[in-house]
Symmetry: C2
Subunit: 352 residues, 2 copies
């Protein structure tokens, strides 16, 4: 390469929704994000376009199977009801690793700090990371710090990467969603997104809504102890449960049917959504998971979930069907049906 970017051989990867620049929506976890990965990063990195997209990658090494995952956290504000960017950065990556059924082994932490950030703020964030790691039973073993000029970086951005070991006999991935599977959600949804937004926008919704940020590795271990035949796990972060359902349906070429009334939407989240014109199932969570399990293990898995602090409100919300592959259908309380579409961008940016 010379001094100037050399665009020889580079053609702008369309379809990128007719944009020629990055928009906020490209980071939202919806269809724009997926297109960016599919049409820009995967070809550039030489990744097989038929490769399965997952929360973590599978790496064979030293006779074991590792899950490897990375996530950057740019949440604004840095502190919000129920958590801060620090515990979010730990829990988010612990959960991504857990979604392949892996036991977390180690975390890394990369900081991009804004010049002028107060040490008391950074210290508090680091302390919350340490606490969250302790709760999850994992160590932050390696790290890196960069500092950028004042005005950049919103105080602090954090990247965490995690590696975990997948137990023998466990094969959890989106493509395993199978007609007949029962779909479980581990508890109330929408809390994290609404908590962050209410703090950011200074909106009060009566009772304070707290982020549900939590590590799910213990819950997953308890579920796997009940049965290793769990087909799919997913933490519905950006894009919420809706995006998770749409992506799994598309990846596994199956249909998904769910009961809108069965969705565990807390009253405060429902009223915040109604006030703001948002859809609770499209709002990010950070301490919930969606599980697809064959019918014969539903009772055992649900029982294990109900015995765990992060799964005690688990509910069955739907099933996988061979009808309408790739399409997600919700049945409303009036018996009507609506078809869910992967959101284009995101309703609430910068929430993780």
């Amino acid at each position: 390469m010379g001094e100037q970017p050399d665009f020889d051989g580079w053609t702008c990867p369309l379809p990128l929704r007719d944009h020629d620049r990055v928009t906020i929506g490209h980071g939202g976890g919806g269809r724009l994000s997926a297109e960016l990965v599919e049409h820009l990063f995967m070809p550039a990195f030489g990744v097989d376009p038929s490769a399965e997209m997952r929360d973590s990658a599978l790496v064979d090494v030293a006779g074991g199977r590792l899950a490897f995952s990375t996530d950057s956290y740019v949440v604004r504000p840095l502190f919000f009801p129920g958590g801060c960017i620090g515990d979010l950065a730990v829990n988010g990556t612990v959960n991504d690793v857990a979604m392949s059924g892996a036991q977390i082994v180690a975390l890394s932490a990369g900081f991009i700090l804004e010049e002028g950030l107060e040490f008391t703020v950074l210290g508090q964030i680091a302390v919350e990371m340490g606490k969250a790691a302790e709760v999850a039973g994992v160590r932050i073993v390696t790290g890196d710090t960069k500092v950028v000029d004042a005005g950049l970086a919103d105080g602090v951005y954090i990247n965490t990467s995690g590696i975990g070991l997948i137990p023998d006999g466990v094969d959890i991935r989106p493509r395993r969603a199978t007609p007949g599977d029962t779909i479980i959600i581990s508890g109330p949804i929408g809390l994290h997104g609404v908590a962050v937004m209410s703090k950011r926008e200074g909106i009060e919704f009566g009772t304070e809504i707290l982020s549900d940020s939590a590590p799910l590795n213990g819950l997953v271990a308890a579920m796997l102890a009940a049965s290793t035949d769990i087909h799919v796990l997913r933490d519905p972060t950006r894009g919420g449960v809706a995006a998770s359902f749409c992506e799994i349906a598309a990846t596994a070429h199956v249909g998904i049917e769910f009961e809108e009334t069965a969705m565990p939407v807390p009253e405060q989240v429902a009223s915040a959504c109604s006030f703001l014109g948002l859809d609770a199932i499209s709002i990010a969570n950070e301490g919930k998971l969606v599980a697809f399990v064959p019918p014969e293990i539903v009772d055992a898995v649900m029982s294990a979930m109900h015995d765990h602090q992060f799964g005690r409100d688990a509910v069955v919300v739907g099933t996988v069907t061979a009808d309408h592959p790739g399409v997600v259908v919700g049945r409303t309380s009036f018996g009507a049906r609506r078809i869910l579409d992967l959101p284009l961008g995101e309703q609430l940016p910068r929430i993780c």
Copy 2:
């Protein structure tokens, strides 16, 4: 935690050089960076203060030993003579993993994009990442993309994390520096830092100076094939060779003596440094390594390096001594001696 940061139990971790805020120097890889890690991150993360600081962490898993490393790249400008942020992000983490003697297994890539970034720019960066990964023989297996508001993030920040497998019998770490060890540098130093700065500041130094950004995993494998008894490897990035020497001397409680005249400083780097009042041995490199090896394997290791494209200009520059533990001494061309000190911040910020 409530809505506001709770500083109960949090005391500002002094000594942090009497700053109460993050300065650019805290990201420079010098003493301020080390203090931030030692006095803020390590206590917050519950890391044993006697733990050894390395370019990558050692993780025991599945019967093997893994090296795990992370680095964020915030270089400005994004494109510079000889490379761009994309190949830098791949090579930098490949090299950090290689410095423990590990064979790289997989890379992750986390992007923080500025709203409005042109896809042609992002595409070119991604293509260069893919090319660099191919040269290094590693796959980018997992990733994440966030988008922040226009005006933040300088276009793009990239975090890469890497995992590698450490071969049996290999034990490479700073603490193994031993009196009598010969110190080798793999080739000309200072090129990356001067290349980035010349582009950023619009300074011309006659002949164009190109970044030396390169993956060193192949060179390390060739060195290990010559002998597995290499004691220390280090890629002298931020803070340059000077910072690497100071950190290794302090960690291993040994003295280091080097010949200033033996340092492989290219003429263009020397003249740029003289023009700017910089010290070439404190300038960052991205495609060089420093090796500490016992005398009996020097010939074999040097021979292997000279046969490799990234080590053909390797030279011996000094030795480890039991005298003056923790102190690095350079002998100048006039027979004088100067004592090197770990730089406080960095001469050139935002070069990686």
